[in-house]
C-alpha cells in the first residue's frame, strides 16, 4: 500500500500496490475522488477524477 496525500484536504489516501493507471481512489477524509496516474518513470500522482457526465454509462 502506498500512502499519498489528498491534494484537496491533505488527508491520507491509500493506493493499493497493484493499482492501475486510471483506477479511482477516494480520500477517506473529504470524499474527493482521484484518478491514479503514473508517468513514464512510473511515478505515481493523483489527478482529480472526472465527475459523472450526462453521456456516461453503458
Amino acid at each position: 500500500m502506498v500512502d499519498c496525500k489528498c491534494p484537496e484536504c491533505d488527508g491520507d489516501v491509500d493506493v493499493p500496490d497493484d493499482a492501475l493507471d486510471g483506477e479511482i481512489v477516494s480520500c477517506p477524509d473529504c470524499g474527493e475522488e482521484f484518478e491514479i496516474s503514473f508517468n513514464e518513470k512510473k511515478e505515481l500522482s493523483l489527478k482529480k477524477a472526472e465527475v459523472v457526465a450526462e453521456d456516461w454509462g453503458e
Binding site: L20, G22, W56, G57, E58
Partner: protein, 286 residues
Amino acid sequence: MQRSLSILYDRVRWEEKTLLEKAKEKRINVKLIDAKSFPINLTNVNSLEDFGDYVIQRCVGYFRGLHLTAILEAKNLSVVNSFHTSLICGNKLLTTLHLTKANIPTPKTYAAFSTESALDALSEIGYPAISKPIIGSWGRLISLIRDRNGAETVLEHREMMNNSLLKIYYIQEMVRRPPRDIRIIVMDENVVTAIYRSSSSNSWRTNVALGAKVSPCRVNDEIRDLAIRASNAVGGGILAVDAMESKEGILIHEINSTIEFKGASSASKVDIAEEILDYVLQKLKR
C-alpha cells in the same frame, strides 16, 4: 505471429480490471490505453500509437468512445463494438428505429421535437408513460409521467436544461410487467447468459446502478431468438439486450454497447470476461 489486443478506457472500473486479470490468466497480451492521454492528428491517423490488431473500446463516456472508434476505424483497426453498433445502441431513438425495422417487438414509442408535440405524444400513448433522454444510462433522467400535470413539470425542467439532445423527446408506453426486466448478454449470435434485474423497493426502475437486485434467468427459445435478432439488427458485437415481460410476450426496449457486467456476473455462472476475451480471440483468428 502473435496478434495483439488493446483495451481503450477512460476510467478503470471493475469490468476493466476483471478483463485485465482474465487476460493475464489466459496469457493474452493486452495493452491498456487511456483515451484521455494523447492528442490525435486527424489528417494522419496512421501516426497514432500502436493499438495492436484489435481494440476493445471500454470508455464510460459515450461520445468519447464513439468518436475514438471512428478514428480507430479510419486507421483500419478492428474495434469492438464498431462505430455503427455503438452509434445505434448509444441512442435510444436510433435503437427503436432499428428494432422496429427488424420487426422485433418493442414498446410503443414516440419522438417529439417540441414540448407541445411531446404533450401530444403523451396524449396519444396515454398516461402513465415514460420519458427518457435519447442518450444516457443508469436510469438517469428517466421519468415516469403519471398525468398531464406531471408531464408539464418534466417538460419544463427539460426545456431549462442547456442541452440540445434533451430537447429531443423520447416518450414510451409504460409496459405492464413484473417489477423486473431481463438483461441478456449476447455476442454476435451467441447468447452468453441472462439475468433478471428486479427493482428495489423504492424505485420502479430496474437499473443495477439504482439498486436493482440480480438473479439468474433461464434463456428460453423466445429470449434467445429475440436477443440474436436484436444483436443482428444493430450490427452485432458485445451487447447487453434489455427485455421486458409483457402480457403479449417479450419486448426488447434497449441495447447497451459498452456493457457493464459486474451485476450479471454476480448472478450468472458464466465467466463473462472470459467470454469477451474468447470472442475477441475468435475475431483475431479470422
